[in-house]
């Protein structure tokens, strides 16, 4: 719950806590003074005895506002329950019904959403009789369409997930799919949004009471108090101001909290680097594009997924980083980009474009990374915002980092899209990401990286989701870019890497185990590199033999064995390997380098 430490959600939390406390204790503490009729103090303005004045029976208004907290919250709560009870099932229907029924349900939701909510609420309230019950029903019915739409959208995103398709192929019933697969997986965002709806209900109910459609005397909620106070607003503004402020604060509290929680659920934290150790820093060279010394990434609890990584990249060079899943490739890249997720801690020296990163202020860091470093991630759909046009998103890079006027930035975006060979770039720039195919999205992201003048492009698995032809296109694009910028290409496929790179860095269990040129790959000396190559089928692999595999699994980032981390899986391991850790010397970290004959 780190998000709660930033000011807005924290304010929300405090407000909500205060309001809830009031609802609990209010009637007990001030119930008496709120009900005490005083003929001698009718319709007074503020005074030391009555800070917000009194009403037409001489009752203290401040006490009444405090006491009304409970009823106001209770009604909002009931209205939300009604809204959920109607909206949730309605929203799930399109995912559950067979196609024709689903279309009908979706149509109903569309129609309901289009209908003005307040009108719906007022109509229901009037029809079902004046009073709290009518208001709650009305408000509930008015929020139901919004919730139904939300549920529908969320459910649709899950309904297309592979595990739902798999269940359908297995013949699992639609209802069961909704209950077992869809609802549990959308529960979290739904709850967050219900918090927001609650704030809305609170406001709406106050509105209804204020129109005289809600709570009737002798009961009172904030809306009722506001209604009563407004008739004398020119005489004693505080009588109306008090309930208005209460409503406002409570609604704002729930909204801030809901939004803060929603953000926390979706956030990818950016964390400042930990202090670099002095020695490692001095070693980091400043002439190349990138020089990394003794880089480690640790997570609380003892996981150290990246251990003491050294990496140098010369201008215009293309370096491949390969290794199994979990070997620390992505975290190494994230550490260079300053994007290691909280609560990861980064240590070691990083020198980017001749600048020692530990010596820069946060602002300078952001600027340096924003202009000289471009990162292309594995999943293009998460990098591009689905709600914004592609051209605008590209342009934003230049308007924020290079302070370019928007028009010029848009023109540059079109130019960059053209450079990555997207046909009809002017038209494409105006479209949303989902209209792009996987390969095009990937290219759009490379184009985004080219908006500045990056000295280094880090591409993390940019091609795994793509077929060979698109894959080759993307790789050629990166290579073209490398005439100006250096590239680090991260992949688990050693064949892909060898197709494009000058040099290959092989990682295992968070460490670099071998470093060699592409030409040397066939003569690799490290047993792990050799095993990786042997396990990669090519067009000459013998089809009558089982494929070579690497038995066992890599160690977890929590374990740091004394000896070589690869020893349990290594065919060449000796007892020395289990006790002595091989150091990276002369491009290899192995006690028994293999030779190629």
């Amino acid at each position: 719950m780190r998000a709660l430490r930033s000011p807005a959600p924290l304010t929300g939390l405090l407000l909500v806590a205060a309001v809830l406390t009031l609802a609990l204790l209010g009637p007990a503490l001030w119930g008496e003074s709120a009900a005490r009729i005083d003929d001698g103090a009718i319709l007074q303005g503020h005074s030391p005895a009555h800070p917000l004045g009194t009403d037409d029976l001489g009752r203290d208004l401040l006490a009444r506002i405090l006491v009304a907290t409970r009823l106001s919250l209770l009604l909002a709560c009931l209205a939300t329950v009604v809204g959920v009870a109607i909206g949730l099932p309605l929203g799930v229907l399109p995912a559950v019904l067979p196609p024709r029924g689903a279309r009908a349900a979706a149509g109903t939701i569309n129609a309901l959403v289009a209908f003005p909510g307040l009108l719906l609420a007022m109509f229901t309230a009037v029809v079902s009789g004046l009073g709290a019950r009518g208001a709650v029903l009305g408000m509930g019915i008015a929020t139901a369409p919004v919730l139904a739409r939300l549920t529908q959208t969320l459910a649709a995103s899950v309904a297309n997930a592979d595990y739902v398709s798999a269940a359908r192929v297995l013949g699992v019933s639609r209802l069961r799919i909704a209950v077992r697969h869809v609802l549990p997986n959308i529960a979290e965002p739904l709850l967050l949004n219900i918090t927001l709806l609650f704030g809305g209900s609170l406001l709406g109910l106050a509105g209804l009471s204020f129109l005289g459609l809600g709570v009737q005397p002798p009961d009172y909620d904030w809306g009722r108090l506001l209604f009563d106070g407004l008739s004398r607003v020119y005489v004693d503004p505080e009588a109306a101001l008090g309930p208005a402020v209460a409503i406002g604060l409570a609604a704002v509290g729930f909204n801030l909290l809901g939004e803060g929680l929603a953000k926390a659920a979706s956030r990818r934290a950016v964390v400042p680097r930990g202090a670099a150790t002095g020695e490692a820093l001095r070693e980091a060279r400043s002439e190349g594009v990138l020089s990394v010394r003794g880089l480690s990434v640790a997570f609380p609890g003892g996981a150290v997924p990246v251990r003491d990584v050294h990496l140098d990249v010369a201008p215009g060079e293309i370096v491949g980083v390969v290794g199994e899943s979990g070997s620390g490739k992505s975290l190494t890249a994230l550490a260079i980009g300053g994007l290691v997720p909280y609560p990861g801690e980064v240590t070691g020296g990083i020198n980017l474009c001749g600048q020692d990163l530990s010596a820069l202020s946060p602002g300078e860091l952001r600027r340096l990374r924003g202009t000289s470093l471009a990162m292309v991630f594995q999943d293009p759909m998460t990098t591009l915002n689905p709600a914004l046009r592609v051209g605008g998103q590209l342009a934003e890079v230049s308007t924020t980092h290079q302070k370019m006027p928007r028009k010029e930035a848009l023109a540059r975006a079109v130019d960059r899209l053209r450079r990555v060979r997207i046909a009809r770039p002017e038209e494409r720039a105006r479209q949303h990401p989902h209209t792009f195919s996987g390969g095009m999205r990937q290219r759009a992201i490379i184009a985004m990286g080219l908006m500045g003048t990056p000295k280094l492009i880090i591409a993390d698995e940019p091609t795994t989701a793509l077929d060979v032809t698109v894959q080759r296109d993307i790789l050629l694009l990166l290579r073209e870019a490398a005439k100006e910028a250096a590239v680090i290409l991260i992949s688990h496929d050693i064949a892909v890497v060898s197709q494009l790179c000058d040099r290959v860095v092989v990682m295992y269990a968070g460490r670099v185990v071998e470093e060699l040129t592409v030409a040397e790959l066939r003569r690799a000396r490290h047993p792990y590199t050799r095993a990786l190559i042997a396990a990669t089928p090519d067009l000459t692999t013998d089809r009558d033999k089982p494929l070579a595999t690497i038995p066992g699994q890599p160690p977890s980032p929590f374990d740091d064995p004394d000896g070589c981390a690869f020893a349990p899986r290594c065919a060449a391991a000796t007892s020395a390997c289990r006790t002595t850790r091989p150091l990276l010397e002369d491009g290899i970290a192995c006690l028994h380098p293999q030779s190629s004959d």
């Binding site: 997930a161 192929v169 297995l170 899943s325 060979v468 496929d493 066939r522 090519d538 595999t549």
Partner: protein, 236 residues
């Protein structure tokens, strides 16, 4: 006699024809590889076979088709245990389920004790094997494998490919194996079908397709296959 035959299968999305009049036989106990560029309609064809998208044309001899998906991280419900996922498709009395789940997990070389764990506790390769076990539980006559090794490490990919071949041997399974990686398809498949823009451009024995292709498009695909130590296209 072919175990399954696809005849004149067509899938339309609005006005776009994603799969265009495809006919393909999948002989019993054989693995047919399907390759082609992205957007060529491979996955759409697979989905049509298992009834996930509406289509015209006929599919015969494939009354029990099951499918395994590309992304092992997305194809298992994160909130269900491995055992519950595998048991989902079993048409068995409750009491017999645990034993069947254990049998299926053993079949795909997983420790049956994993039945109680959640997908997040498994590696990609293990998850993909769970997905395979789940599909095998429905005793399919045809298994559609859509890019099942693309998201896996080579060290694990080998184990999954070996598993597919041994399942074919032991269970007499027919497989439609879809992949963009020609080297992988060449290794597992007996027959390779090449697809482009919704149509089949070439079908033939795996060795022949990869050594003496007829269609220029197949040749282009072969040229794009990345290989260790070979820089495919003109370097600087």
């Amino acid at each position: 006699m072919p175990a399954s035959a696809i005849e004149r299968l067509t899938v339309r999305y609005g006005t776009h024809v994603a799969v265009d009049d495809v006919s393909l036989a999948i002989p019993e106990r054989s693995i047919v590889g399907l390759v082609g560029e992205s957007g060529s309609g491979k996955s759409t064809l697979a989905k049509a076979l298992v009834g996930l998208v509406p289509h015209t044309g006929t599919v015969t001899g494939a009354d029990r088709v099951q499918m395994v998906f590309q992304d092992p991280y997305a194809s298992l419900d994160p909130r269900m245990t491995v055992g519950a996922s595998v048991a989902e498709g079993l048409k068995l009395p409750r009491a017999a389920r645990a034993a069947e789940v254990a049998r299926l997990l053993t079949l795909v070389n997983l420790d049956p004790a994993l039945a109680g764990s959640y997908p997040r506790q498994l590696s990609g390769g293990q998850r993909q094997r769970v997905a395979l076990a789940r599909a095998l539980g429905a005793r399919p006559s045809l298994l559609v494998a859509d890019e099942i090794t693309s998201a896996l490490d080579v060290s694990v990919q080998g184990a999954v490919l070996n598993l597919i071949r041994s399942l074919r041997r032991e269970l007499g399974l027919s497989v439609l194996f879809i992949s963009h990686n020609l080297a992988v398809v060449r290794y597992v498949a007996d027959v390779i079908a090449v697809m482009r823009e919704g149509r089949l451009v070439e079908v033939g024995p795996a060795e022949q397709i990869t050594s003496r292709p007829h269609a220029p498009y197949t040749r282009a695909l072969l040229d794009a296959v990345p290989q260790v130590g070979r820089t495919a296209t003109a370097r600087r």
